[in-house]
Symmetry: C2
Subunit: 552 residues, 2 copies
Amino acid sequence: MNILFVMYDQLRFDYLSCAGHPHLETPNFDRLAAMGVRFTEAYVQSPICGASRMSFYTGRYASSHGAQWNGFPLRVGEVTLGDHLRKLGMQSWLIGKTHMKVDAEGMARLGLSPDSMIGARQAECGFDAWIRDDGLWGQGPDGFYDQKRSPYNEYLKSRGYDGENPWADYANAGVDDEGNIASGWMFMNADKPANIREEDSETPWLTSETMRFIEQAEGDWMAHVSYIKPHWPYIVPAPYHDMYGANHVPAARRHEIEREDPHPIYGAFMANKVASAFQQDIVREKVIPAYMGLIKQADDQFGRLLDWLEETGRLTDTMIVVTSDHGDYLGDHWLGEKDMFHEPSVKIPFIVYDPRSEADATRGTTCAALVESIDLAATFVEAAGGIVPNHIIEGRSLMPWLHGETPDTWRDFVVSEYDYSVTPMRTTLGVSASDARLFMVFDGRYKLIHAEGGFRPMLFDTVADPDEFHDLGADPAQAETIARLYQMLAQWGRRNAQRVTRSDAEIDAMRGSSARKGILPFMVDGSEVATDLTVKYRGPARQIHLVDDDNV
Amino acid sequence: MNILFVMYDQLRFDYLSCAGHPHLETPNFDRLAAMGVRFTEAYVQSPICGASRMSFYTGRYASSHGAQWNGFPLRVGEVTLGDHLRKLGMQSWLIGKTHMKVDAEGMARLGLSPDSMIGARQAECGFDAWIRDDGLWGQGPDGFYDQKRSPYNEYLKSRGYDGENPWADYANAGVDDEGNIASGWMFMNADKPANIREEDSETPWLTSETMRFIEQAEGDWMAHVSYIKPHWPYIVPAPYHDMYGANHVPAARRHEIEREDPHPIYGAFMANKVASAFQQDIVREKVIPAYMGLIKQADDQFGRLLDWLEETGRLTDTMIVVTSDHGDYLGDHWLGEKDMFHEPSVKIPFIVYDPRSEADATRGTTCAALVESIDLAATFVEAAGGIVPNHIIEGRSLMPWLHGETPDTWRDFVVSEYDYSVTPMRTTLGVSASDARLFMVFDGRYKLIHAEGGFRPMLFDTVADPDEFHDLGADPAQAETIARLYQMLAQWGRRNAQRVTRSDAEIDAMRGSSARKGILPFMVDGSEVATDLTVKYRGPARQIHLVDDDNV
C-alpha cells in the first residue's frame, strides 16, 4: 500500500460542502469523504503552521518536539514519520511545504553535513524531498523571508515569467486599472485575478508534480503532498477570482459581548493588525471570495488527481488523507489568521480513505471521536505494517475507527498549544518569552484555555454556546469544570514524552536481567536468589569466580 | 579557573561530621565546607544513579532528558554540560563513573561512529574520558552486567591480582575462615576486610588517577571525578573495615506506624528484597559500619587530594564541588537502597568551594535555599564565564548564594522523579510501564509524592514530622495543602523544556523581522506599515519589484 498524505495550508474545517458550507461546492473532497471516513472532531496540536506541522511529522505534541513556532528549528535527532516508515520499508517523500527549520547548530555539533543523505533527511524533517517549497517567497528590505531556493519560482521562470520573484509579481499579484502590479499582500486586491495562467498557479503546479512523482515511484511510499494554498496571499487566478462574491460570504461569527471586557490575551489578539483588518466588512467581502476561489481550485485539482489515480488503477492500493495544518478566523470572533483556539482556527478537515476491504463498512461515514493531528503518524505506521512506537509517537492509530471498530479506550480530551513569544502581543501584554504560552484542553464539550503568566483561564461550553461567544473563565459557577479540565492538563503535563530510547517492550525485557548479569546487591547470605544465580564458595581464595550452578 | 566536580555514589547527606553524624568524623569534607558553602537542602532529580546523573550532566529534569532509569540511553543530540563548557573554551573531562548508556540506535540513525571524536563524546555523555569506569563489574550466567572494558580491572591485573574479574574477587570480596572468597555481594560478609591492599582499592586508585590527570592538564578544564564508593558492594579494606562497629550504627529511623496500612507503592517497596534485608538488625550492624568505613576512606583520600592541590598551588584557581547522586536508606523507613523520596534517599550532600575573592564572605557558611542537582550545570556555565542557556539548562546558577547575594526570586519547590517500570514492584502493583512513575514536590515543608496509575498521593509535613513517619496523603484536613502542591506539580509539568533550539534572546531578535523580509499579510491597502516596508506600485505590470522606499 502507498499513502498520499495531502495537506492544504490554512483550510478551515467548515469550508467544504461535505462539512456544510452553504455556498462552496467541493465535490471532489466530498467524493473522498464518501470513499472514506470524515473525522468531525479533529484538532491540531498548535494553530500555527510550523509547530502544527512538526506535530504531524513527528506524532508528538509541540511541547514534546520543541519547535513551538515558525522558525524554531526541529532539534536534530528528533525522530520523524520518515524514520518510522523507512524502518518498515516504506519511503517517505515530500512534495511541497513543511515549514521545517533545520537545526543547523545541532547538526554542526554532531558533525552532520546537509549534503549527506542522513544530513539531508535531518534537514528535511525526515523526508526525501521531491520538491521542497514552503510557498512564502516574500522579499523586503532585509531580503527574502525564506533563504532557500524556490522550485516554484524556477518553474515560473522556465514558463517565461520574468523578474527575480515571479511568485510575488505574477502568482500572487493582480494588475490594477493602470496596468501596475497589484500586490496580493494587500487585501484590497484580493478580488483581482492573479496575473498568471491558471495552469501555472501554485495548486495545479504541485498537483502535476505529484503525478510526476507517482509515475516514477517504485516500492512502497508515503508522499506528503503539501499545498501552500488557500494560505495568504489571498489571490487566485481566473476563473476562480470571481466565482464567489459578497453574497456568498457567511456572516461573521462574532458577537459584541466578545469585545466587552475580554480576557487580556484575547483582547490583545483582537487589537492586532490582521484582526483589525478582518473586522472591516470590506476586507471580508474582498478576501473570503478569494479564499473560496482558492479552495474551489484546490478541489478541482484534487478531482484531477483522483481521476488520474482511478484511471491508472491506483485507487485500490493508495491510502489518501486530506487535512490542513490549522484553520483561518476570516473575521470570526473579531480575529484574522489563526493563533487562538476557537473552532475556526484549531479544528481541521480530516478525511481518511483506506482502500482495503476492512474499511468497506465505514465508507462515507463520519466519526466524532476526539482526534489529534498526531494520530496520523500512528495511523501511517500501522498502515505500513508496524507497531506504533508509543514511547515516541504520542498519537493513536485511527485504524480501528477506519475499520468499524470501537477501541476499548480512547482519549477523553485533546490538547493544543500556542507559543506567542515572537508576536507583538507578547510586548503588549508584557509577559516573558517562556510565559507567552497558551494551552487548550477540550473534552468534547468544554474548552479551557490556560495562559501562563498569571492570567485567569478562558472557558467555553460548546454545547450551550456552540459559537463560543461566552467566556465562562471568570464564572464562579464553573469552578468545578475548570478544576476538572485543569486536572486533565496536569495529567497531560506529566506524560512520559521523552523516554524515546526505550520502548515498553524493551522495559519488560530488562526486568530481572541484571541479576543474571551478576548484580546481586540484595543478598544477606545468598539464600535469597535462585541457585543458578548464587555466588558459590568454591576452592581457595584467589581462584574463585562466579559460576553458573548448572555447571558446578 | 578549573573545576573539580567530585561525586560519590550513594553518599547519604547526613553521613558527614559537618552534617551532624554522631560517630563518623570526616575532617576533609568538613574542611571543604569551611572553605565554601554547604547547601543543606539539596535534592536529586531522581533517586537512582543513571537518571540522577543524566540530570547532573545535562542540567535538565529526568522527564526532560528522558533517561529515567539505569540503562535507558541518553538520546543522541541531548545537549550536555560538556557541550556548554566547550563552547566557552573549557574542557570537560570524566574520571570515573557516569552510568551513561549510549543511544546506539540513535547514533546509527545519524551515522555517528563511536570512534569519531563527536561520536565518542555522544557516547560518553559529553565528556572526554580520562577514565570511564562505572564500577559495577558484576558477572553472572548471562555475562557481565557492564559490557565495556574495565579500566579498574586492568589496573588490578597490572598490580598482580589474577583471574578474569579481580574487581569481584579482590576489591569487593573478603576471605572467609576457610580461605574461600567471601563475596562482597552478601551483606553477611560486609564486616570482613576486602581482599586487597588498601592503596589498590577503588577510591585511592581513582584519586591517583585524578592527580595524574591534573598534572598533565593544560588550559581551562572541568573534571568530573566520580567515585563508585560508598555504593555497594559494601566491603572495605583494612584498616577501614573495623573502624566502626554495631555501637556506631545510628538507630534506624523507622516507626511501626509506617507498616500499618501503608500507601500501596510504599508497601510494595517495603516488601522487596533489599528492604527485607535491611529490616534485619544484623544486616544494619554488618553493613553500616562498612558503609562508614568506605566514607572514612573517601574522606582520607579527599584529604590527600586537597593537600596535594594546596601544595601544588591549585587551591587558588580550582572550584571544588562535593556531592552525590542520591542517598541510601540503610534500613530507615524499613527500606534499603534509594528509590523513594524520604530524606535519606533524595537529599544529598552538596558543598561548593569557589576560590575567588567574591566568595570570601560566605566561606564556612551553610545555605538553606532549595537546591536541585540541575543547578550545578548552570553554576559551572557561569563559572566558565557564560550566560546560562535557560532554554536548555533547567537549573539555576548558585553563584549568587556563593557570593553572598540573595537572588530576587528563587524556586518555591523542588521536583524529583522515579520511574520504577523495570522493577519487580511494578509487577506486584500491576501498573503499566508508563504509569510506573512517581513525582515528588517539596516546598521546604510539605513533601507530596504523586503516583501515576490511580493511587492517592503521599504527603509528609517535615516540620511537624521531621522523621517523615506520618503519611498524611489520605487526611481530609490536608486537602488544601495537597491541592497547592499539585498546582506546583502542574506548573512544572507545563514547563518549556524542549524548546532547546531557540533561546529567549533569539526569540526577541526574531520579533518583527519577517515584515522586513517581505511577509506583509495583514495590509488592507499598504497604509498600515512603515513606508520602507510598503510595496510600491511603480511602472507597468511585469516589471515591478518590491523596493525599499529609500531607493525610490
